[in-house]
């Protein structure tokens, strides 16, 4: 069938053939059923396959910029989901730890002692040993088998008065201290580790090396500095009497302790907090404490909020 069309004639429905019907059909303006009427069956199938082949050809020829964007988007989504999962896992882990701690507490086997800001806490252990915790410190031990193995975990600072008996071990992040019956002070925070022996004999294990301390001896490791050994002639650490003493300690650690004693925040960004400080500060009077630390170092301080201070030169 062959019909002529006029340029002026509009194409109504599909009854009027278009001379260039293939161009209409490939655009989708002519139905398959109509094309079937215009060509042989073989031709129809051929055109069908050709149309599909052209579709594939064109798709494979397309620039892939949108594909790349999509890939970036999917990678980003995966990271977001992974981060979300991590947050989930972290919070679940935190919850688990909390419950474990709680459960342990209820079980009465594990004991946790914590001191808060500016607080000193005295703890009596099962064997009559005595521990005094300085501010913001934590002591943890298990009641089970205490007689045979006396072991505690410490973070922060504590003064120990250990009854003579089996080996008594203090475990900290920075190393372990073992004694048989003595009095000693341990201070262990992130990068500050100091053990002072006041009585008896103390064995410190740090980085797989062993150090024996006699009375007045001490072991100190601050951050990456070499190990120091100072002599302390007192009978007891001064902080147990309300005064913190420092000998050649980087200011940053004194600042940390001020924060723990007075429950404040001190911003030291503008100053050099690794300058060495020797001196002491009072636990109970903050302005006095500030005077003895900051005035001595030639520093000024400004109060910006109820408990925030900024240091300046």
């Amino acid at each position: 069938m062959n019909c002529f069309t006029n340029d002026n004639m509009k194409i109504k429905n599909t009854n009027i053939e278009n001379e260039f019907y293939l161009s209409q059909w490939i655009e989708g303006n002519l139905a398959d059923t109509e094309l079937k009427k215009l060509v042989s069956e073989d031709d129809f199938l051929a055109y069908k396959k050709l149309k599909k082949g052209i579709e594939v050809f064109c798709d494979l020829e397309q620039p892939l910029d949108t594909s790349f964007e999509r890939i970036l988007h999917r990678m980003d989504k995966k990271t977001k989901i992974r981060k979300l999962h991590l947050k989930w896992i972290a919070s679940i882990a935190a919850m688990l730890l909390f419950f474990m701690g709680f459960y342990a507490l209820i079980n009465n086997n594990s004991v946790l002692n914590k001191s808060s800001f500016g607080e000193q806490k005295t703890i009596a252990l099962l064997d009559n040993s005595k521990v005094i915790l300085n501010a913001k410190s934590a002591l943890n031990y298990s009641k089970k088998g205490w007689k045979n193995k006396r072991e505690v975990f410490l973070n922060g600072e504590a003064f120990f008065q250990v009854e003579k008996g089996s080996t008594f071990t203090v475990k900290t992040k920075n190393g372990n201290i073992t004694v048989l019956g003595t009095q000693f002070n341990v201070k262990s925070t992130d990068t500050f580790f100091e053990v002072i022996c006041y009585e008896g004999k103390v064995r410190v294990v740090h980085n797989n090396k062993e150090y024996i301390l006699n009375p007045t001896n001490s072991f100190r490791k601050i951050n990456k500095n070499p190990i120091e050994s100072l002599n302390y002639s007192r009978k007891k650490p001064t902080w147990t009497l309300g005064e913190s003493t420092y000998r050649s300690v980087p200011l940053k650690y004194v600042i940390e302790d001020l924060e723990k004693q007075f429950n404040i925040q001190i911003n030291s960004a503008k100053i050099n907090n690794s300058s060495i400080y020797t001196g002491s500060f009072n636990h109970h009077k903050m302005d006095l404490a500030f005077k003895s630390v900051f005035d001595a170092m030639g520093l000024k301080y400004n109060k910006t909020a109820s408990n925030i201070y900024i240091l300046d030169n």
């Binding site: 340029d7 293939l22 161009s23 082949g53 494979l60």
Partner: protein
């Protein structure tokens, strides 16, 4: 420093690898799956996997890595769909004038199409590419080439008539 240049974890290098191999990979995958959407998805999957392992794949072996990953994904998906595909194939055999989704486009056929396009007259090819690849309407092409719509249609019709010859369904 030389290592730096070849590190796929650098976005610049990753993008370069994409621009170099994405098209070929998609094409490769199309002939495996015979489906454009799946080929696109799996191609993306392969690149995402490359990015995840960017510190373990060297610049030189990126291409074979991509194609291996793509192939493995194909094998896994195929196993999963084996039964369904068998049914599809049987269906096509019995009913040749049924829906064309089941018509397989072979590699050779695609090559024939490419050759046929190259054999078109320049005027026909121009209209053909503008319409099919650039997705322009005949009206737009007419304005672009400064000819009548009818002239555009005539060229497209002629192109398709010519290309019809490459199809031979007497297998």
């Amino acid at each position: 420093m030389d290592n730096d240049l070849k590190n796929i974890c650098k976005p610049k290098n990753f993008k370069f690898i994409f621009k170099t191999y994405a098209k070929d990979l998609k094409r490769f995958l199309y002939f495996k799956f015979n489906d454009l959407e799946t080929a696109e998805d799996v191609m993306q999957d392969a690149f995402i996997k490359l990015w995840k392992n960017c510190d373990r794949v060297s610049f030189e072996t990126a291409k074979s890595y991509l194609f291996t990953v793509g192939n493995n994904l194909f094998i896994n998906i195929k196993k999963h769909e084996q039964v369904i595909r068998k049914n599809k194939y049987r269906h096509t055999k019995n009913t040749t004038n049924e829906s064309p989704e089941f018509l397989l486009i072979e590699k050779e056929f695609l090559t024939k199409i490419e050759n046929a396009i190259a054999d078109l007259s320049p005027k026909q090819r121009e209209v053909f590419l503008l319409s099919r690849i650039e997705k322009k309407k005949y009206r737009e092409i007419a304005i672009l080439l400064d000819i009548s719509v009818k002239a555009v249609e005539k060229r497209m019709h002629g192109a398709l008539l010519k290309m019809r010859k490459i199809t031979d369904l007497n297998s």
